[in-house]
Amino acid sequence: MQKVYSDAKSALAGQVKDGMTIMCGGFGLCGIPEVLIEALKDTGAKNLTAISNNAGTDGFGLGLLLETRQIKKMISSYVGENKLFAQQYLSGELELEFNPQGTLAERIRAGGAGIPAFFTKTGVGTLIAEGKEVKTFDGEDYVMERGLVADISLVHAWKGDTEGNLIYRKTARNFNPMMATAGKLTIVEVEHLVQPGELDPDAIVTPGVFVQRIIHVPNAKKHIEQRTTRKREAA
C-alpha cells in the first residue's frame, strides 16, 4: 500500500469522471490545493459539482475550472472575488447553492463522521431554511442540515508523512481537515513530505486513515488576495 504518488497527474489518473462531486480545501486562495486543481483541470472532466468555500479568483484556484466550463454547480458560502463566476451564474450556465460558512463546514464534518443530518440555529427564519425541516428543541427553532460527502477530496497540507498523517500551517488549515474526512478518495498535496515518526503524534490533525494518495509539492505557489500592512514605527 504505497500512498505516495510522483505527481498530481498520476495521483488523479483514472479517478475523475464526468459529473463527479469534488471537494476542494482552502479559504479564498489560502490553503487551496493549487497543484491538484490544475491537474483536475487537465483531466478534462466535465459537469463537476465543486464543494468549496469560495470559487477561487479569476485565473487562480477553481477559477481555472470556471474558465474551461468544467464546473456545473458550486456549493459555497462566498464567491465575491470572481468576475467569471458572476458572468456564468447570471447567464444560467452555472448552478449555485449557498450555504452559511459554518453550516457548510459542519455539513462536511458530518459527512466524514457518518452523520446524515444535524440541527443548527443558523439560518432559521431566512431563505436558507426554506424547504428544510425546522424543529423546536427546548423552545428554540433549529433547521435540519444534511451531511456532505464527495467522490474526491482535494486537500492542501503543510507537512505529511508517507502514511498520510497531516499537519496544517496557520489559517491555511481552514476547510482542509474536514474535507480530508469526507472524500471517498482523498488526495493531498503536502509542502513537506516526511517519514513516519517525524511528526509529533499528539499534533497530527488528520490521521493517515483519511488519506489515500499524497503528492509532494515542494515549491507551492501562494497568493495573497488582500495585502494589508502597517508601517514600522520609527525607533
Partner: protein, 222 residues
C-alpha cells in the same frame, strides 16, 4: 453633528468587557480593534480558523498562510491558536464568542438583520454572517443610519420589517449608527429603544430618518 466612522467604532468599543472573545466584521467593525481600552484584555476571533488575531504585518512580513476572514494579511500573537473551519464555527455556534460587531443593510425593530443580498443584484454569499448572528452571545450592528443612493435619494435602514432577505431573525442586540445608539429586546417584546444621541443630533433628526418604532430612554443629554 453625526459621528464619524471612527467615532462609531469607538462607541461600539464601549461594549467590550475585560476577557471578551470578539469577532469583528469587515469595514467599520474592523476599526473597533483600535479602541480597545488600555489594560483591557480582548481576544479577536477570525472565523476562518484563528483565535488571538494580531495587527497587520509590517511590510515584507506578510504570510500567505496567515489571513483573516476578509482575506487580509494579519499577524499572530503569543496567545494565538489555529483550528479548522468546523472547529471555528463550533466555537461560534456553540455560544463561546461573547460579542460580534458587524455591518448591516437593514435592521428591524424586532432585531431582524439583513446584510447579505439584494435580490436582482449579483449575490456574493453570506459567508459566516448567518452563523455569527445566530451563535454569538451579543450582536452589535454598526452602520450608517440611512443609505444614500446615487441619485441622492435616501433609504431608511432601521425599519418596521426588513424588506431584504434576512441574515438572521431576531438576532441584533444593539445598533450604533452615525446618529445614535439603539438597543433591541430581541428575545422579548420590548422592541427597540433609542439610548444615545450623537453630539448635536436631535430626537427629531432620528425620527425623520427612522422607520422603525422605538422608545426613547436617553441616558446622556444630547
Amino acid at each position: 453633528m453625526a459621528w464619524t466612522r471612527d467615532q462609531m467604532a469607538a462607541r461600539a468599543a464601549q461594549e467590550l468587557r475585560d476577557g471578551f472573545y470578539v469577532n469583528l466584521g469587515i469595514g467599520i467593525p474592523t476599526l473597533v480593534s483600535n479602541y480597545i481600552p488600555q489594560g483591557m484584555k480582548v481576544s479577536l476571533q477570525s472565523e476562518n480558523g484563528m483565535l488571538g488575531m494580531g495587527p497587520f504585518p509590517y511590510e515584507g512580513d506578510e504570510d500567505a498562510d496567515l489571513i483573516n476572514a476578509g482575506k487580509q494579511t494579519i499577524t499572530e500573537l503569543p496567545t494565538t491558536s489555529y483550528f479548522s473551519s468546523a472547529d471555528s464555527f463550533a466555537m461560534i455556534r456553540g455560544g463561546h464568542i461573547d460579542l460580534s460587531i458587524l455591518g448591516a443593510m437593514q435592521v428591524a425593530e424586532n432585531g431582524d438583520l439583513a446584510n447579505w443580498m439584494i435580490p436582482g443584484k449579483m449575490v456574493k454569499g453570506m459567508g459566516g454572517a448567518m452563523d455569527l448572528v445566530a451563535g454569538v452571545k451579543k450582536v452589535v450592528v454598526v452602520m450608517d443610519h440611512v443609505a444614500k443612493a446615487k441619485d441622492g435619494m435616501i433609504e431608511k435602514k432601521l425599519l418596521h420589517r426588513c424588506n431584504l432577505p434576512l441574515t438572521g431573525a431576531r438576532v441584533v442586540d444593539m445598533v450604533v449608527t452615525d446618529l445614535g445608539v439603539f438597543t433591541i429586546d430581541k428575545h422579548g417584546s420590548g422592541g427597540m429603544t433609542l439610548v444615545e444621541l450623537a453630539p448635536g443630533v436631535t430626537l427629531d433628526d432620528i425620527k425623520a430618518n427612522t422607520e422603525a418604532s422605538f422608545q426613547v430612554a436617553l441616558a446622556k443629554a444630547a
